[in-house]
Symmetry: C2
Subunit: 202 residues, 2 copies
């Protein structure tokens, strides 16, 4: 009998750098978890591979997965579905290995409802000005889009109260270290280990 | 306005090595907290100094502190009182600095009732055999006393469920590192930082 793995959910407002932090975590030596590849209906970008960057599916296939109850969470952004297939997550957790999800705020709340013992980490910009600069720096959006995104981010920061931890993404290596410490500490939380100790005394 | 400090309570069964871990934490570079010196009615051992190792008081003085509501927690062991003066703890927390208490299980439960937002860490032996060896290694107790202590430890391990974290004291430097990570992670918990972020958005 091994312990069940821990579900780690990394989320946060649009533009905060979730993907960058996640990629840095995957490259770090610490990396004692499996990353759960998301499913999407958007077209692959150059270099992206099915099953590695995303599971690329048609709209019809994705909607069938939803209908079959096979999605842990999903949401639609700009006419495309994004979501987390349930099966891989459960198999990995059952094998005693931690699973990392990097998902949007709406999806994270769906996971919270289904997996209350997960670790929910909210990645946050140092302040909204930094978020604005980052969005402008991308150079892909006009001012109206940027302002809309900032208002959305303010709303999403209010959603922080549904998370366990808030990690500032001031510098990616620092954010990664904070998240790794959270993962280590969470493994020491009494509700996660009490049964092991009860067995030790008996 | 600075944030209030965090109360860190290190406890665990008799003989597990709480004092050794605490001393190692005080000598570590991390040491971003104040240690709260306990008060006792036992006599100073050679080399122990009042206000550093303990506040040494008479039985009458200690009982007056209890009567005046000046003790955060206290207990009587082998005819001597041990406890934590409330004033220093509150002053340090109000100044925005973390406070470390290293206390017995009974005292920790008194603190838990008064300070539910503290971080309660239970130091535990790798197994009861290790505890037994450690007690025998001390060479100060007979077999009956040792067996009694082990039964007591089994009871105290059951008390682990009242703590937030369980840290195995297999090696002191490892235990210290685990506790330091817990302290760092706890500072990122949403209920501790949400107000700061609410202010940021407004």
């Amino acid at each position: 009998m091994h312990e069940r793995g821990m579900l780690i959910v990394l989320s946060g407002p649009s533009g905060v750098g979730k993907g960058t932090v996640r990629q840095a975590m995957l490259q770090d030596d610490f990396r004692d978890f499996q990353y759960s590849v998301s499913m999407t209906t958007r077209k692959p970008r150059p270099g992206e591979k099915d099953g590695i960057d995303y599971y690329f599916r048609t709209k019809e296939q994705f909607e069938q997965e939803i209908a079959d109850g096979q999605m842990l969470e999903y949401a639609k952004y700009v006419d495309n579905y994004y979501g987390t297939p349930l099966k891989y997550v459960n198999q990995t957790l059952d094998a005693g290995r931690d699973v990392l999800l990097e998902i949007e705020v709406k999806g994270a709340m769906q996971v919270r409802a289904k997996c209350p013992d997960g670790v929910f980490i909210f990645l946050t910009p140092p302040d909204l000005v930094a978020l604005k600069h980052r969005l402008v720096g991308r150079g892909t959006d006009d001012i109206a889009t940027i302002n809309k995104r900032i208002q959305q981010a303010a709303q999403e920061i209010k959603m922080m109260e549904n998370y366990d931890y808030a990690v500032v993404n001031d510098e990616v290596p620092l954010a990664v270290k904070r998240i790794e410490r959270i993962i280590e500490s969470e493994h020491l939380r009494v509700p996660r280990v009490i049964d092991k100790y009860r067995n030790m005394v008996n």
